[in-house]
């Protein structure tokens, strides 16, 4: 156990130093790794720990992004402050979805479809309201300053994204160890048993979806100020929800490190296949290869990459003894 922490600390120190040696492009790839690792962790709280599958997390990203941006546009509120308000907004929407889902006992694919429905309805409503830029989307005027959460270089973005990941790791670990976390896992393992032991299943599921939605929406602030364009068609789509869940699933659901490991595996895979197969006349080839790689990864690591790593490490240890 101690060794794991040592490794993590070492890894963290290396990551801290990377901006000194890496090009802006590679930093950009790392930023995407962190961004998706963080989103994956947020999703993991709900699906990995509590066992409630959601395929509508892009909704929370959208709520976070739009709230943050509109607050800074109209009230001049810094995104650093606005993102927490967005987080609460997303959390409340999460509670509404959770209420319908948990009160009426929707499980498995039913709950999946409930989350998809709410996300799609949300996307379509955002798409039609003028305040959200409607179909045109919102073009964000860059004002590079710390207060505005906008920077010229990738290095600040890199550290912010890294900060998000570290925060999510510590937070997930704390939850895992807390009473809430134990109840959540109990619900995932056997809901009826948990109920009969006196766990208030409804309450803990609601807590779980609130935390998950809240965390997810914080990433929206990052998205806004990193990409400078908001449109529900891309970042609130089902495709984006799928993008969010890919990494924690491959890394290992219900584990603290799974989303990070998954993101370190999948994001570079996408990047490498895109840059190496970018040949004129073969448009789409890189996504065929990426698609096959996804299939292969799941077939090789059906329990998530993290459990495989654990197995290798423990067998290595026993071999040493």
């Amino acid at each position: 156990m101690k060794r794991t922490y040592l490794f993590l600390l070492l890894g963290f120190l290396i990551l801290l130093g990377l901006p000194m040696v890496l090009s802006s492009y590679v930093l950009g790839v790392f930023i995407m790794i962190f961004f998706y690792a963080y989103l994956g962790q947020s999703w993991n709280i709900l699906t990995g720990y509590t066992g409630v599958i959601s395929l509508g997390h892009s909704l929370y990203v959208g709520i976070g992004a739009y709230t943050t941006y509109l607050l800074s546009l109209t009230l001049g509120l810094s995104p650093w402050v606005g993102m927490w308000i967005g987080g609460i907004g997303a959390g409340l929407v999460g509670l509404v979805i959770g209420f319908f889902g948990f009160r009426f006992g929707l499980k498995g694919v039913y709950f999946v479809l409930l989350t998809i429905s709410f996300a799609e309805i949300g996307r379509l409503i955002f798409l039609h309201l003028k305040i959200f830029g409607s179909f045109q989307g919102l073009f964000i005027t860059p004002h590079f300053s710390f207060w505005n959460y906008q920077f010229k270089e990738n290095t600040p973005y890199y550290y912010i994204a890294l900060g998000y990941v570290v925060f999510s790791l510590i937070f997930a670990k704390l939850i895992e160890r807390s009473k809430i976390g134990r109840y959540m896992i109990a619900i995932r393992e056997d809901e009826d048993a948990a109920e009969s032991l006196g766990v208030n299943v409804f309450k803990y599921k609601m807590i779980s979806i609130f935390i998950s939605a809240f965390m997810t929406s914080l990433a929206g602030a990052f998205y806004t100020n990193y990409l400078f364009y908001l449109h529900p068609g891309t970042m609130m789509s089902m495709a984006f929800s799928i993008e969010i869940i890919l990494r924690p699933i491959i890394g290992g659901m219900g584990t603290v490190l799974g989303p990070v490991v998954g993101s370190f595996l999948i994001t570079p895979l996408a990047e490498i296949s895109r840059s190496y197969f970018a040949k004129a006349g073969y448009e789409g080839l890189h996504l065929v290869i990426y698609g096959f790689l996804l299939v292969a990864v799941v077939l090789f690591f059906p329990r998530g990459v993290i459990s495989y790593i654990k197995k290798v490490v423990t067998s290595g240890q026993s071999g040493l003894k």
């Binding site: 179909f135 860059p142 040949k279």
Partner: protein
């Protein structure tokens, strides 16, 4: 690490080998000026890959032609090399890809069709100080952000509406029509929405005698337009003003045919869908008399004739249209700037780009030249019409190949298809 550098080396030597093979001189006899890398960044996969690929081809062909003519002469005949990037129609990918090509040494970026992608890339280019030439991406907002490193060759959406009303005015005067009752439709994406709204606003502001009975929107990538067309039929308009994309344009025509909607004309305020070779190939006589107000090639231009001949030869069944034409033009503008800048430094290129006065007869409109914002003030549209299943420029008269036909002499279902 070692592996990567070896691969780069191999790539580089292969490229040099290829250049040698083309020019026919052994490398030893000629001092090779260094290659100048520029990057084409387009949405070649995802929802709009048809247009993205057409534009990548336009970019590539311009680079090949410039190289065949001896490269950038002021820099010792340096050849251009086009790096290819794919945005997958997503902003986050657009940013990462732009970073990648900048790292690989692109001194200037050209692209993309989608305005959202363009916004992300323009911001990145501002952050990195790399010149960015937008070939097609019409949303006005992009050039209103005070970017110092972005110029746009394509007309803005307000320009579209202005020309559209100019042409409509001409048609209505000549045909002695005092008022047109029309229905406006557009796809529910950025381009469609903006194009539709700008047209509507222009009519209202100028009190132009077009009465819009309805403004119908439908999602991009729609597979069924029967409901929308039923609505149009119920309103009995004179003219349909559709802003479309390749898929729904075909769907629309077939649905209009099947529901027997009587119209005097189909006149698009400016959109793809109505001029691609596939539209005419699949719709045959039904494509006839459709008009579209688009930034189009100049049919009388010498440059157009040469480029189009080469393009059609390389890609059978295709021809230069709005998107591939502007993609080609975008690269020419970059080459022209490099020629005058005699340098690959970003600020030199940008200074040269700002001073661009590039005479061209590839597209309708005068020489490419940019205003303070970076918009090409001479970019213009033409009214085109499909007559006898081929595309003719009908307005403005100085570029016209044929006289426009209005109202349509035969309804869609009377054309014996």
């Amino acid at each position: 690490m070692r592996k990567v550098s070896r691969r780069t080396f191999l790539k580089y030597s292969a490229a040099v080998g290829a250049t040698t093979a083309i020019s026919g001189f052994p490398a030893v006899l000629r001092a090779q000026p260094p290659e100048i890398k520029i990057a084409s960044i387009q949405p070649v996969t995802g929802v709009i890959s048809d247009i993205g690929i057409a534009m990548r081809r336009g970019n590539q062909m311009a680079v090949d032609d410039i190289n065949a003519r001896g490269g950038i002469k002021s820099m010792g005949g340096a050849k251009l090399k086009l790096l290819l990037a794919d945005t997958e129609a997503k902003e986050e990918v657009a940013r990462t890809e732009a970073e990648r090509v900048i790292k690989e040494g692109a001194v200037c970026l050209v692209g993309p069709f989608l305005s959202g992608n363009a916004m992300t890339i323009a911001t990145l280019c501002e952050q990195r100080g790399v010149p960015f030439v937008i070939d097609v991406a019409a949303a006005d907002d992009i050039t209103r952000k005070g970017f110092k490193y972005t110029v746009r060759v394509f007309p803005t959406t307000s320009k579209f509406a202005e020309s559209m009303l100019f042409f409509m005015d001409k048609i209505m005067k000549e045909k002695k029509i005092s008022k047109i009752r029309g229905v406006l439709t557009n796809t529910g994406d950025l381009f469609g929405r903006v194009q539709g709204a700008t047209f509507k606003k222009a009519i209202a502001e100028k009190k132009f005698p077009i009465e819009l009975l309805a403004h119908i929107e439908y999602p991009l990538g729609i597979q069924d337009l029967s409901a929308e067309v039923s609505k149009i039929k119920a309103l009995k308009p004179d003219v349909l003003f559709p802003v479309a994309r390749p898929g729904d344009a075909k769907l629309m025509i077939r649905e209009l045919y099947k529901q027997r909607v009587e119209l005097q004309g189909i006149i698009s305020p400016g959109s793809p869908g109505w001029y691609e070779p596939e539209f005419i190939r699949d719709m045959k006589a039904l494509a006839d008399y459709v008009m579209d107000n688009v930034p189009w090639y100049n049919p009388l231009g010498k440059m157009y004739k040469e480029v189009n001949a080469a393009f059609s030869k390389k890609y059978p069944g295709k021809y230069i249209d709005t998107n591939s034409g502007y993609a080609y033009l975008g690269v020419l503008v970059i080459a022209d700037a490099l020629e005058r800048a005699k340098s690959t430094k970003a600020d030199d290129i940008m200074a040269a780009l700002k001073k661009t006065y590039f005479k061209q007869d590839l597209m309708v409109g005068l020489a490419v030249t940019f205003d303070q914002r970076g918009d090409n003030i001479n970019a213009d549209t033409a009214m085109i019409q499909i007559i006898g299943q081929s595309i003719k420029v009908v307005l403005p008269e100085k570029a016209a190949e044929a006289k426009y036909v209005f109202p349509m002499p035969k309804q869609l279902w009377e054309r014996g298809v």
